[in-house]
């Protein structure tokens, strides 16, 4: 059995995504514990800077580059990963738990007859065995899942590993992969109007709920998000009310996020909302009701009117963060 790890490094516009470096660090730790090497397969078009993965402990980089790989496409990514896996015979194939990783990881696992652990928040080697930690039941429980198969495919939740230096010179090679016949064809991309920070990748998120009272009051949420360099989210109540689009919804029927900092303003803290954000490292709640359940999960709480408190925070953040 090989002790190597194959990291699937996602790109956007030819550049490595942040999750690639988080994955590299997680992969390095597993490889060190197993006594193996880390190979990254970097899939995209016009890929540059792939050798930067060496900084976080990647030994070898296989670049799959071509127009068919410019944008994520499931069949194409699977073909690239399977071609790389055929070269390295990895013990672990590590994806990021993005839409791409969640869709293609299991497909690759099925093709390799491998074990599959999705959305892991931790990865360790215990007694020679791979053991992943993963949330279940919307974060109400955590499972330790041991891999019994010779090969495992794991997707790693974003933001749970901080990229760490383990510098080496990564050998970069090109890997030629024929793009498979496309059974899924892209017709159109509807891009967001403004360049927004993707919720699931954000380090800091400011979310608002029904306590904001009216959609026009959302400006205080957006302004604090801007001051903190944060993404912005919403509770289901305001999405259902049509104040905010569904893509901003955090929770059981929205997105699961695990930022370093989550600010919940005017959100009561219903169990279904907590399901999407209780994995955040630090939670700040702003609510006018001192008994709101959100304070039970919050690390810091401000009892007050969100319309007053958020602007205060934004003003102070603009001057404090500059220092």
């Amino acid at each position: 059995m090989s002790h190597d790890v194959l990291l699937v490094a996602e790109t956007r516009d030819g550049q490595l995504k942040k999750g690639a470096f988080e994955g590299a660090t997680a992969a390095r730790r597993v490889a060190d514990a197993l006594g193996g090497k880390v190979t990254a397969v970097v899939v995209g078009h016009g890929v540059t800077g792939a050798d930067a993965l060496g900084r976080c402990g990647v030994d070898r980089v296989l670049v799959v580059d071509g127009p068919a790989f410019a944008r994520y496409a499931g069949d194409a990514l699977a073909a690239a990963v399977l071609a790389a896996a055929a070269k390295v015979s990895p013990r672990l194939v590590l994806f990021s738990a993005t839409v791409a990783g969640k869709e293609t990881g299991p497909a690759v696992a099925a093709r390799l007859s491998a074990a599959c652990v999705a959305d892991a928040t931790g990865l360790a080697v215990e007694g020679g065995e791979l053991v992943a930690t993963k949330p279940r039941l919307g974060g109400k429980a955590f499972a330790k899942v041991a891999v019994k198969a010779p090969v495992a495919v794991v997707s790693l939740r974003q933001n749970v590993v901080t990229p760490a230096d383990a510098p080496r010179t990564a050998a970069v090679e090109r890997l030629d992969v024929a793009a498979p016949a496309s059974r899924v064809r892209l017709q159109q991309v509807v891009a967001p109007t403004a360049k927004e920070i993707e919720l699931t990748e954000a380090d800091v998120i400011v979310s608002g709920g029904r306590g904001l009272q009216a959609p026009e009051n959302w400006k205080v949420v957006l302004d604090l998000a801007d001051a903190l360099g944060a993404a912005h989210g919403a509770s289901r109540a305001v999405v259902d009310a049509g104040w905010r689009p569904h893509k901003e919804q955090v929770g059981q029927t929205g997105k699961t996020v695990s930022p370093k900092l989550y600010v919940a303003a005017g959100i009561s803290g219903a169990i279904q909302h907590l399901a999407g954000m209780s994995g955040s490292k630090v939670i700040v709640a702003v609510n006018k009701d001192p008994d709101a359940p959100i304070f039970q999960v919050a690390d810091y709480g401000i009892v007050g009117d969100a319309m007053v408190v958020l602007p205060l925070l934004a003003t102070e953040a603009r001057s404090y963060l500059k220092r």
């Binding site: 839409v99 497909a107 959305d119 974060g139 109400k140 019994k148 198969a149 892209l186 891009a191 404090y320």
Partner: protein, 250 residues
């Protein structure tokens, strides 16, 4: 248009989770069981697609304990035509074992489309759909919020990296339902009565061993008590300082 919907019986999302005595599963006492919420959305969409096509059948399929017939009856009461339960008293196993069992179970069931939930709200894997597709050798698009079928292709939408993609997929295919795809109907009395007479086939499932094993289940570590900060400019400054200097998150 023949649509297969994969549905799973899961604990109600309101359930207060307790760990069972074995230390690795959910204590079932007091748990209310439901059809997984995204699977309900998938059932609704399947009914709409069948009706829009003006014919065909919606078959709901589950692997799980015998009690799952309750959730399958609910799907029949919503309007599905028939149900297949692969009976596995201890559950079907992990995502890989479940996907294999479901794909095998689908042999002989005609379909143009397989719909699943984006994820079952107990295991939270979002893995069974794409794995079933791989076993069946058909394409898969996960997390779709819209499906339109014309001839042998489906046009679907899904959100990725903050953008919405419109994709054309060859049928048959596996699609997984994201919120927004449909609003599940509540079964009416007529539907509930009709469901009693609809076919629900049960077959024993010799579940293959799972390639993973859950060793332990634990509740999330409790958070330290909430530190209250005054709603003043000074409070805001203290908070920002703590977030940056003590917690290192800014």
């Amino acid at each position: 248009m023949d649509v297969v919907v994969l549905v799973k019986r899961v604990p109600d999302t309101e359930t207060k989770v307790r760990v069972a005595a074995d230390g690795k599963s959910v204590d079932p006492s007091g748990v209310q069981w439901i059809m997984a919420p995204y699977d309900e959305i998938a059932v609704e969409k399947a009914l709409q697609l069948r009706d829009a096509a003006g014919g065909g059948a919606v078959t709901v399929v589950s692997a799980g304990p015998a009690e799952t017939s309750k959730e399958l009856r609910t799907a029949l009461a919503m309007g599905a035509d028939k149900a297949l339960l692969l009976v596995a008293p201890q559950g079907a196993g992990d995502a890989a074992a479940t996907a294999k069992a479901l794909a095998d179970g689908l042999k002989g069931v005609p379909f143009d489309l397989v719909l699943c939930g984006k994820q079952a709200t107990d295991d939270d894997d979002a893995a069974v759909g794409p794995m079933v597709a791989a076993h069946l050798g058909v394409p898969c698009v996960a997390f779709v919020t819209s499906i339109e079928v014309a001839g042998r292709t489906a046009t679907v939408k899904r959100e990725i990296d903050g953008e919405v993609e419109v994709l054309e997929v060859d049928l048959p295919a596996v699609l997984t339902a994201q919120k927004g795809l449909a609003e599940p109907r509540l079964p009416g009395l007529k539907g509930i009565m009709a469901a009693k007479k609809k076919p629900l086939e049960e077959r024993p499932l010799a579940a293959a061993p799972s390639p993973t094993e859950t060793r332990a289940l634990s509740l999330p570590p409790g958070r330290a008590a909430c530190v209250k900060v005054p709603a003043t400019a000074e409070g805001a400054r203290q908070l920002l300082k703590a977030l940056r200097e003590e917690r290192g998150v800014l």
